[in-house]
Amino acid sequence: MSGSGRFEDWTTGAEAIVYQSCGSCGNSQYFRRSFCAACGAADPVEKRASGEGTVYATSLVCRAATPETRAHVPYNIVLVDTSEGFRMMAHGDNDLAIGDRVTARFASFAGRLVPYFSRRGGAAPPESAGVG
């Protein structure tokens, strides 16, 4: 955790998925804010997610828009409903199906670290950067 009470997460290069939990209404939110978007209460508590979840939606990107991302096609963009109750976008194995129970690792993509989901007990992603 940084001095300001913030956990580092994948958006800043750390191998972690972080969310916020509201002390007043119990809502979980993924996009970081200084308040709870459901009830407006200040200072939701930052928590580290387990990386477990269920696939909500998938789209296999075959046409990318930059040279950096084009080097990775096809890559699977997934929405995952985490066991902590928030939804997140990530990468995942190309054969993931809606409803699959998945676990996050971290992989490198276009020069960055991104969360990467595989079926629970599944194989490692390409260019795996370790287990989260």
Binding site: C62, R63, Y75, I77, R87, M88, M89, F109, V114
Partner: protein, 378 residues
């Protein structure tokens, strides 16, 4: 009360050498002349945005360029819903007496003014800058996600989605201004290059140059009036990650509010103009709006229901999918075509009865919605 008194539309496709202001001016000129007005009659200007030439004050840039000095002017930005959102605002402005004749205008040289990659990249920025964009999604991927879920929940297939591309192309073939004039089949759509599965190239609208405009006035200027009966919006989220469940999306909320505002019910509707950035967009919106039962819109396409001679003619100009998509102007073409149909000026595309029309626009990733009912009065 408010009326759409004039419409203007350029062809969509390549307008080599035309700037966004050129295309806006061309469409504006057509709309003002169609309304039988002079440019000095215009006292309000609402315009969209240009991704090719972004500006913080596009409405006044346009007014100066066009040579008018309106008493009310600004730009509006709600993605693909911008055209109908501007129309809704113009409706309220003339009803409130703020302006007499509001010019609603948009145009963009999106095809020839920038590379296709630049276009795709600019549009992908509707995603969340920290939590989505670094993952390399594209607009087709955002809609691909929605498509995968919709297909999963309602048993819709890729062949079902292909039907909408085929229908829009069949309509575009009959319009000289459309970007595409070659008929396609379901097999062509299925065999087209994968873009963001389940969406393939022919499930996606093209990038186009073009311009569209209309005039919204307090009183009608022609014999046949096209009156705004009622309209409403709904905004449930911006980012697909934060979208509500499929049964709680904004189209259903906006149409319920528009029905209440207008007193019009779906069985009254004779013509439909529905946003179709992707085949999945059109399929979902038709079902959300109540123009087909859940999971059954494709069956209605196959049965001819949405064809020119069907019970509910839909996007008879070819829609975004085949007339083309030049940004804000893209979905404004839907309103221009609706106006031509309602005033019986659609020529070889004329439908039997377009006395009451339903229009619906969507911006972002099913984020912002505007529903509107128009009624013909004589």
């Amino acid at each position: 009360m408010s009326f759409i008194t004039g419409v203007g539309l350029t062809s969509y496709g390549k307008h080599e050498g035309s700037s966004s202001l050129d295309l806006m001016s061309k469409a504006a000129e057509l709309a003002i002349s169609d309304a039988q007005l002079k440019r000095t009659d215009i006292d309000g200007v609402l315009c969209g945005y240009s991704t090719v030439a972004p500006h913080i004050m596009l409405a006044t840039v346009f007014a100066e360029h066009f040579g008018i000095r309106p008493s009310y002017a600004h730009a509006v930005q709600v993605g693909g819903a911008t055209g109908l959102a501007m129309t809704m605002l113009a409706h309220h402005l003339v009803e409130a007496g703020v302006a007499r004749h509001v010019l609603v205008v948009a145009g963009e040289n999106r095809l020839t003014g920038q590379s296709r990659d630049a276009s795709i990249l600019a549009l992908a920025q509707v995603g969340h800058p920290e939590y989505e964009v670094p993952l390399g999604p594209t607009i087709p991927a955002y809609y691909g996600l929605v498509a995968s879920r919709y297909m999963h929940e309602y048993g819709v297939t890729e062949e079902d989605l292909a039907e909408f591309a085929v229908l829009m192309r069949a309509h575009a073939v009959t319009h000289p201004g459309a970007q595409f004039h070659d008929l396609i089949t379901v097999a062509d759509v299925m065999a087209s290059k994968p873009v963001a599965l389940p969406l393939k190239l022919l499930d996606c609208c093209p990038v186009s140059d073009g311009g569209a405009a209309f005039v919204v006035s307090r009183e009608r200027t022609g014999e046949t009036g096209v009156r705004v009966r009622g309209c409403a919006q709904a905004h449930t989220h911006q980012h697909v990650t934060a979208a509500p469940r499929l049964s709680e999306l904004g189209a259903e909320i906006a149409i319920a509010r528009a029905k209440q505002a207008s007193g019009v019910a779906i069985p009254d509707v004779r013509y439909a103009a529905v946003y179709d950035s992707f085949t999945i967009t059109l399929a979902m919106l038709l079902e959300d709006l109540g123009l087909a039962a859940r999971g059954e819109a494709a069956a209605r396409v196959r049965a001819g229901y949405f064809g020119r001679d069907g019970a509910m003619p839909l996007n008879t100009h070819g829609g975004l999918l085949s007339y083309g998509h030049c940004g804000v102007g893209g979905a404004m073409a839907h309103l221009v075509e609706t106006h031509l149909q309602m005033t019986e000026r659609a020529g070889n595309r004329q439908v039997r009865d377009a006395s009451i029309a339903l229009l619906h626009g969507d911006g972002g990733v099913l984020s912002s919605h505007v529903s509107m009912f128009l009624e013909r009065v004589r």
